[in-house]
């Protein structure tokens, strides 16, 4: 007996459903990081701001380097510090250099006296909530010229972009799957319509 082949629409539906499921599962933890950190960013909550700081002093050999960023990078190498370097402040008057280096859940500020080579590293463990906020904001649009100077921030940036493309796929495939479900069509349309109405009314009034 000949096996009857499935119609193409059913094959497409099955593929879309499987991809929706597996991609959705893959991005679930990423979505949780983004969604949970929203509450901290949206309300400017920083429960980690009171976290204790510790300071350690070092003595380093000051590299012969004109460029502040490169100087900071070489100092980080000497101090065996890794992380995303932020704005480098080179104070010409006091001949000192200071710059923050961040990692998820850990903030460091490095201050170096370029005359005598004394360095102080201030360290603050900020915890998991700040780690989520850090990942939410990275790489972001600030300090474009130096952003992604740590390879892991660059990799996270690619993952963040991939998450967006996957979200777009998951939402589009979700709409497709809903559209073929007759039982949910009417009530789904009401929710979709309500969402569209809320979205456009808020934006229209805000931009008017």
């Amino acid at each position: 007996m000949k096996k009857r082949s499935k119609p193409p629409s059913k094959i497409v539906y099955r593929w879309v459903r499987n991809l929706h499921l597996y991609i959705g599962l893959f991005i679930s933890p990423f979505l949780l990081i983004y969604a949970i950190s929203v509450f901290f960013l949206n309300h400017d909550w920083k429960p980690w701001s009171d976290a204790e700081t510790e300071k350690v002093s070092y003595s380093i050999s000051v590299p012969d380097e004109e460029n502040s960023r490169e100087l900071a990078r070489q100092i980080m190498q000497q101090l065996q510090i890794t992380g995303e370097m932020n704005w480098v402040n080179h104070n010409q008057n006091s001949n000192s250099l200071s710059f923050p280096v961040d990692k998820p859940g850990l903030k460091k500020v490095i201050r170096v006296n370029l005359d005598d080579g004394s360095a102080e590293v201030e360290r603050q463990k900020t915890g998991v909530w700040d780690a989520m906020v850090f990942l939410h904001e990275m790489p972001g649009s600030h300090l474009v010229s130096i952003r992604g100077n740590w390879i892991y921030v660059r990799i996270w940036g690619w993952l963040a972009d991939a998450t967006v493309y996957f979200i777009l796929f998951v939402t589009a495939s979700g709409v497709y799957m809903w559209s073929v479900m007759k039982a949910e069509r009417k009530s789904g349309l009401i929710f979709l319509g309500l969402g569209v109405f809320t979205f456009f009314s808020i934006i229209a009034v805000m931009l008017r």
């Binding site: 933890p29 949780l32 509450f39 949206n42 850990l106 979700g174 009530s187």
Partner: protein, 230 residues
């Protein structure tokens, strides 16, 4: 007698398991509905924040680079010195006189008591105002950005970093900020309702564990691993 009591016990057990089956199928049904309806309701919000997130993450893209294309307009208007006390109240009075709407981001005084300045923001527009109460004049600088700029600004328009006494002093900032919270809560609900739906599909469990494990592994590595080990 024993037979009768056994039968009674069995029927009670059947009744209980029947009830729990109904409860569980009602939960499954509503969980599925919640996943679909929340997804449909938040669809445009998710798209907006996804696309604006891409713009923020890729400042080298031409469309992300909206700032150099901004339009700057300077103008001057006559004002009457507000009778209110308190920076925010003075700023609100001036905004009413100048027909400006938006979130008061910053207020401050100049060298003399006649010089008051404020900055008002809303997605796509920023207005800086410098007033001179002695001359009854307001110097205004308006900056407008293109549609990509508006999309990008909507991503971060929360009023949370205002340098005024009151966070979110515009009703629409409050509404937008609430929408952002609601979207975040909606996403969390969608994630957990989706996980539950997957858990019920026994045939997809192994593949699902692989994909969920990959995502979880990546996130745990970035949340804890890179700080602990690198």
């Amino acid at each position: 007698m024993i037979e009768q009591s056994r039968k009674k016990e069995k029927s009670t057990q059947n009744k209980d398991s029947g009830e729990s089956k109904i409860n569980s199928s009602v939960f499954k049904l509503w969980n599925r509905k919640l996943h679909i309806y929340a997804g449909l309701y938040f669809l445009l919000f998710i798209w907006l924040f996804s696309i604006s997130g891409l713009l923020l993450n890729n400042p080298e893209w031409t469309i992300s680079n909206y700032w150099p294309e901004r339009e700057i307009t300077h103008f001057q208007k006559e004002i009457v010195q507000p009778s209110e006390s308190g920076d925010l109240e003075i700023a609100k009075n001036l905004m009413n006189q100048l027909l400006i709407r938006g979130e008061i981001h910053e207020t401050g005084w100049g060298d003399s008591e006649d010089e008051f300045r404020l900055q008002v923001r809303r997605p796509g527009q920023m207005i800086s105002i410098e007033t001179n109460f002695e001359k009854n004049l307001a110097d205004m600088t308006e900056i407008r950005v293109n549609s990509w700029g508006v999309i990008r600004m909507l991503h971060t328009f929360t009023g949370a970093k205002n340098q005024t006494d009151e966070k979110r002093n515009w009703i629409l900032t409050k509404i937008w900020s609430f929408s952002i919270d609601a979207l975040a809560a909606g996403l969390i609900i969608m994630v957990f309702s989706g996980l539950y739906m997957w858990y019920l599909l026994s045939r997809k469990r192994i593949m699902g564990i692989i994909f969920l494990g990959l995502g979880t592994g990546c996130c745990l590595f970035f949340l804890f691993g890179i700080t602990l080990f690198l």
